[in-house]
Symmetry: C2
Subunit: 201 residues, 2 copies
């Protein structure tokens, strides 16, 4: 025992964060103890408030502190496009492009039999439920999942259940990243880039 009890406890709790080992946890603890009291308490309060207030949006399953979330409430967004993503962080990444003006749906995971995650563990029935409430002839579901085996399997699964409902299902392009040199691209990415080639006008 090299620490006072409340210091040891803080090191333990910080050490539970992803990517924070014992040394980093100790460094962060000393930082919090050396910081002005109100700064450290602000972090404590922010955690408590986020945990108390944040819930899942009843429409898109994104994190929100007001239900429905600010994207689902936004009347200016296009209700006829729903972009399906794995996690809330993916929405942040897409929003930063400032290109997409449709709605989202967060699956909260992808199908992964090895981890025991099937469609029932994901927000798939919530996706189907919200779709039943809107006209399907003009609806497009864009699947924006990673190109891992699990991502591909989840995309296929969603396409299989959505297409019979008369919904247009697309998925984002996989290919050469912008600024990426051809010679350094891996073969799978390059194969996808050829497969997804488009005609020039």
């Amino acid at each position: 025992m090299h620490h006072a009890q409340s210091i040891a406890r803080l090191i333990t709790e910080l050490g539970k964060l992803p990517g924070v080992g014992p040394k980093t946890a100790q460094r962060l603890t000393y930082h919090l103890l050396n910081s002005p009291r109100e700064n450290s308490l602000a972090l404590s309060k922010a955690i408590r408030e986020a945990v108390d207030k944040v819930t899942y949006c009843s429409v898109c399953s994104n994190f929100t502190d007001i239900d429905p979330c600010f994207i689902c409430r936004d009347e200016k967004r296009d209700k006829s496009i729903i972009c399906v993503v794995e996690e809330p962080g993916d929405i942040v990444a897409i929003e930063k492009t400032r290109e997409y003006k449709g709605h989202y749906h967060v699956l909260q995971g992808i199908i992964s039999p090895i981890d025991g995650i099937g469609p029932e563990q994901l927000k798939v029935k919530e996706l189907l439920a919200r779709i039943t409430h809107q006209p399907k002839d003009n609806l497009e579901v864009i699947i924006a999942l990673g190109s891992s085996v699990e991502g591909e399997a989840t995309s296929m699964y969603l396409a299989k259940i959505l297409r019979p409902l008369g919904i247009k299902v697309t998925r984002i392009a996989h290919g050469l990243p912008v600024g990426g040199a051809l010679e350094y691209a891996d073969e799978v990415t390059l194969a996808k880039a050829f497969e997804g080639r488009i005609e020039l006008f």
Copy 2:
């Protein structure tokens, strides 16, 4: 604005921690929101309790939640040796060796004119105060500071004010790290290793 308010606030507060950039702050925030509620609240509570309870030991200036700290209270430790360190974390490192059984004194910094830190900003007068209360003929002060210019200057300063009081002042050895190969040692370390050579019996 890509986040709900209380999520944005938590990302901001986590982003103030050293070594935590905006992306890591977002990842940690989502981790806390995805974790069981009681785990995240445990971190919030641990921060608040540490900030509320932890103070500086009135004897050695180490962080503690009971004054004097558990090391200064320990009757089994040798009161005739005081090891001077820069920060509380240094004590943890030395305690892990399980070799040192004396007391400590935390300077809470080192002399660094460029940062405006002189002896007055450090816990030097507290060191002198505790020394006046004990017999000086048998007392040893071990200076365990880094070998940076500031560390050396602080060591020299302490030796200069402690020696006239009849106190034995030593400093930890600088040299080749155990397991370190001679050919990869930098020249300053190697020079120190020669300077600090000891006779073999």
